[in-house]
Symmetry: C2
Subunit: 434 residues, 2 copies
């Protein structure tokens, strides 16, 4: 990888997400050689991806070049690399671009969509964990409507206008809200010769409430907001399969649809080379102690979604979202510095700053540790928090500008099929004589 | 295509570029049924594509949804369609999504990159006529530098940092300028462990001056600006081939490079079904009379790049750029309306509003009919004109915001490899022991 050897110990970080970046920032110029590896050359802001998928934002404005984050750091190296495996015996990282020795290794590979082993669903469902995936969803939504215009088969048209979102977590809820806004404000104008009222947005939740990581109150409010927007919310229903045409469930309920977006589960983006014992079977996350040390390894740490730290408050590990990742990254930086100074590491303690979700225009639910609220004010809080969490002034400004414009104009101008998702099935040539 | 029959005559427009859109706008609510067909669901602003390719702008901010343009028009239908052929005998358009009868047909398919039959160059060169192509160039530029970091083979590294632009027209010149700005302000910070001084930007022009459609003075100034920026300008040299590694020319000059961007020629994006006699062999454009009627057809018109109208001032047709396209579109609209009202059509007369090109920061050349100038003021004029030619307030605002930011910060934050262009050749595993 052409990383020069130097006298400082080498810390290798795998992953430039929330965890990896916040760690990297805190390790800046600290008598360490830091190597950051990522599959992409950008950090992306996952919480706003659903707006890219629904044409509200450009992908570029929620992504930020990693090299720009680390530009000024000394003894810091970024490499665009796809890491396959860790050789824990020889303390080596094995990637597509070569191997690299490490003194300390930090796994911050995050999580990926979990289809719980159902290959057919994995093949036929859309996932939304990466920017290209969000762009594929954007293209598919629009392609569906373009296609719906062309068919005279009522069933086919209906299934093209029928959207099924599996999973009632924040992503599914926010996506459903955004789709409902498109249905209300944009699609009827864009497709006057389609009856957009026939468009259906189904949100399917296996549990008995949506946003089940939030307060009961938030769940109820969010569900009400969605129903007001015309979203069909289905609870206590588990999707069993999707063959590309029909969604089957564990009830007698089924859906004919051309589009299933799967947000019903994630699992750790695990690397090869770890002991069975150090990974948690169900979620495929790495078990870590209170110092984020991976069970069974002294020099390997894991932070963020990939790590599961069992605590009293969180017996199954911290929630797989931005806050724990950021806090673990910052905390680990301090611990690594303690370590190389032969000081005692400090245990990680998660400060829950609360969580929130937005449902279309003017509506959101916010759970703060001491204070829970919803509605317009919550929506402003949501916008404020997300805007200021974006890296970089330009992204903040562009996103803000887009939001103001979209709000005033009830519009989303990024409804562009720049990279078509599906090969258009050429419709059998019918000439329009009548 | 599910277009209802109606009592008004049907005008079918193929292509939503400058020509097609300006025609469509003028045919709004005019007792005509208008059907607009395009391969893409967006209109894109070609003059700024080079900034997408060099990470200065998001693709979405130079593209605009066609459906939004025509939203309010009556008896107006847009279809996402790839037209293959015209059945001139039965007055039918034949597309991937079906057939459609027309009363009047307007070909506004624009132009595509012309490799003059050299298949190997077509395979190995990058073109920049579409947004996906610009994004591919963006990805490739960045991928080259990421790869240059990894190799110890000096020749390979050099060829990865060596850029060859073929064609000294506005596109080639503006792209060269933008690359030179990246070399100066961004790449040294992003790639501190590469010697960016070794990056070469070669602009090859077959003629004896660049920007040969502009004034001698503009050519000289532009060349000086480029040389000041460190661009190598090669004149009177014709590229003969590129095998993916080495560019050969009609002189003993050759270039070892991983990247050749071809802007050296365009040809009409011709459709099947036309008489030989009605197409101009060399440029593959449709010969039209002064009413933009395609030679040999009364009800078929062609406007913009695809049309070549031989006049005294322009014996080989008008320049293939935005202005003639826009003016022909507007003029044809008036003529079609005259036609259906049994009035005489008026001949088209091109009003040359001048042309301009920008070369990096603060520098541009502007030729107005009565007044030619260059430098900082020209650069402001260039920005002003391009900003206000963009469709849509939001795009204007976002582009302006980006420009201000990029200018103040000497930056381009859209340097993101969102869709990798090349499969990374996995480098033979070398461990870094030393």
């Amino acid at each position: 990888m052409n990383i020069p050897q130097c006298s400082f110990p080498r810390v290798v970080i795998i992953g430039g997400g929330f965890a990896g970046i916040s760690l990297a920032k805190k390790l800046k110029n600290k008598k360490l050689q830091v190597v950051l590896l990522d599959k992409h050359n950008y950090h992306n802001f996952q919480p706003l991806m659903y707006q890219v998928a629904t044409g509200g934002l450009e992908p570029d404005s929620i992504a930020y070049p990693i090299r720009k984050v680390v530009q000024e750091f000394e003894d810091f190296y970024f490499r665009l690399a796809d890491v396959k495996e860790i050789d824990t015996t020889n303390q080596k990282v094995i990637a597509d671009i070569g191997e690299l020795k490490y003194d300390y290794l930090v796994i911050a590979t995050g999580s990926k969509t979990n289809f719980f082993g159902n290959k057919e669903m994995e093949r036929n469902c859309m996932a939304m964990k990466t920017i290209p995936q969000s762009l594929n969803i954007r293209s598919l939504i629009l392609e569906n409507f373009e296609q719906a215009l062309l068919t005279n088969d009522i069933e086919e048209r209906q299934s093209l206008m029928n959207f099924v979102l599996v999973g009632g977590g924040p992503t599914g809820v926010e996506l459903a809200g955004a789709l409902a806004e498109m249905k209300k404000a944009i699609l009827p104008k864009d497709y006057p010769d389609l009856d957009i009222r026939k468009m259906q947005i189904n949100l399917i939740q296996s549990g008995n409430r949506i946003l089940n990581t939030m307060s009961e109150n938030a769940s109820e409010k969010a569900e009400k907001f969605l129903i007001d927007l015309g979203v069909e919310v289905w609870k206590n229903i588990r999707v069993t399969d999707y063959d590309g045409k029909v969604v089957t469930t564990n009830s007698d309920l089924s859906f004919q649809t051309a589009t299933v977006i799967w947000t019903a589960g994630v699992k750790g983006a695990l690397l090869r080379g770890f002991k069975q014992s150090s990974t948690e079977a169900r979620s495929e996350r790495l078990k870590v102690n209170q110092f984020n040390q991976v069970e069974g390894y002294d020099t390997i740490f894991a932070i963020g979604d990939i790590a599961t730290m069992e605590t009293e408050a969180y017996p199954h590990g911290h929630p797989m979202m931005a806050q724990p990742a950021i806090q673990q990254g910052q905390h680990l930086a301090a611990n690594i510095i303690r370590l190389i100074n032969q000081k005692e590491m400090q245990p990680f303690a998660y400060r829950d700053k609360g969580s929130m979700a937005t449902i279309g225009r003017n509506k959101a639910v916010v759970d703060l540790p001491k204070f829970k609220f919803s509605g317009v004010f919550a929506w402003f809080v949501w916008m404020f928090v997300h805007l200021f969490s974006l890296i970089g002034f330009k992204n903040k400004a562009v996103v803000f500008l887009n939001w103001v414009y979209n709000y005033i104009r009830f519009d989303r101008e990024a409804r562009l099929i720049i990279r078509p998702y599906k090969e258009k099935e050429p419709i059998s040539f019918v000439s329009d004589e009548i």
